[in-house]
Amino acid sequence: MTTGLLRVEGLTKVFGAGRTRVVAVGGVDLVTDRGEVTLVMGPSGSGKTTLLTMIGCLLRPTSGRVVIEGLDVTELPVREHPRIRRTLVGFVFQTFNLLDALSARENVEVALNIGGVKGAAATEHARRLLVDAGLEDRLDFLAHDLSAGERQRVAIARALANDPPLILADEPTANLDTPHGRDVMKLLRALTRRQHRGAVVVSHDERLRAIADRIVWLEDGVVTRVEAPEPSGAVVSVAPRGSAL
């Protein structure tokens, strides 16, 4: 059943004007429900990351709508965007983007502080998230003392700190070796299935197809193909170019 966690309609981003005009994203439609992973694939420069930044309220679209949990965030003034980012969206980045001066626990705790949770409650919640991510013996390690796989796990724990319904992940396995990449994939899968969240994952990594409920191919800013992998591993094309997903 569709819960309508994320609905993207005709999302467009144009940079520049005149001869320098570039359509980075042109009229993308996309839907993700709770419990689903939508994988956005495509070559470099196809507009994947631009799409993600617009969904995450980090970039204002030229036109189109982003609706998260029934709230049209594109209608909101810019000053409201931080609130959307800390309550409805959790980010996972390719380069982890942990604060190196802080420990693993503090990296998660600071996100809780931003969300209004402070003191012992924040410390305990951060600890629990990191234990769930399998980092119980790395809580007080500084971020730069962790391995790449551990850092990405901390980043995922941070993305979950304020219990957002939607996870936006940008190339989450790009800087990881095969075992760690597989761990992160399992974690993302578990987050969506068991914790009933939705995820939009942007990646070149073919391995991520295994956890995707829907694969959206983007080229030159437009959706060229949508696939829905069958449980057996077969792929079924479900939507032609330009169709609503």
């Binding site: 001066a101 802080l102 503090e106």
Partner: protein, 377 residues
Amino acid sequence: MFPDTGEDDDRRMVPVARRNLFADKGRFAMSVGGVAFAVLLILIVVSLYRGWSGAGSIYSKLPGEVWVAQAGTIDPFHSTSLLPANRAAELLRVPGVVGVMPVYARHLAFPTRGGERVDAYAMAITAPTVRLAPDLRPYFPAPGHIVVERVLADAAGVRSGGTLRVLGRSLVVDRLLSGGNKIVQFAFLNPVDAKALLGQPGRVSYYLLRTRPGADLGTVGKAAAALVPGSEAHTSADFAGAFSRLVNSGFLSVVGVLVAIGFVVGGAVIALTTYTATVEKARDYGVLKAVGAPGSFLYRIVVWQSLMVGLAGSLLGIGASALVANLVSRWVPEFVTDLRVLDVLGVFAVAVLMSVAASFVPVRRLNRIDPAMVFRA
């Protein structure tokens, strides 16, 4: 509250500012040192100014409140005052006056160890008939004795019990007073010796009047001046303030410029440190913005960083000032400093304000950070 108060309560937050600063301990130490040095310079200049301008405060310690002086006397340092010596009995009848002390005073040249001569303002106050409080005794030496300030004693190479030759007379150094500087020093003689040294028979320099508690000094002064032809009255506070006015006219603007430079240097050190830390951590701030941190959360980190540098530097600078003032006054007695609590508190308060103001530049830089930068590898 700031985000890193370190309090273990429900409001405690991750100490991002502290961690950012301590991530580069060398830079933090240099920043704190720079601010401390600026505060040290400011406090030493201010305390030196206080020390100099307070040299005339000796007038407030003497046992009288009104000075009758020759008309046209600006202050005791720039004017010579000569009055008839036979008016003491009449002055004692002025309402409100309980004691009259003729005073002999003039600048005298004292020989130094190096063969040069140093100027001191010598005073001889006729002892009042009332019993002197112990703290006043240094100002009333016995005949053949002299009391000098430490700076003069050092310059002349004498200690307590030694002998000073003044205008051909040998005077035993009775005791040394703390204080004195390169601009003005005081020496106290007995009137018996002073009469001979001043060489003006039948004349005194001033009459120092001791008044009843609560007496109106203006009224007493007018009445007293009316009894001594060609005279006018000044209060001890006037004379005490004369030296600070002299210092103010010559040095206050210089002191003001030096203090302003000190604050600018301190503020620049804080601003530069915080700005550099902000630029270096631009990606971290971008991440915090991306995960939803409101502007106020980020501003507090920057302001708190500035405050930590400012507070640590100020406290270190205050401690260093107290130490330097103490050590230097022992080694260089003419370097008279007066480190006042109010000055210290004032400098500390300005340093705190300066820290907050210094965070303005990095805050502007913070506003320009685009959170979307976190997606760039």
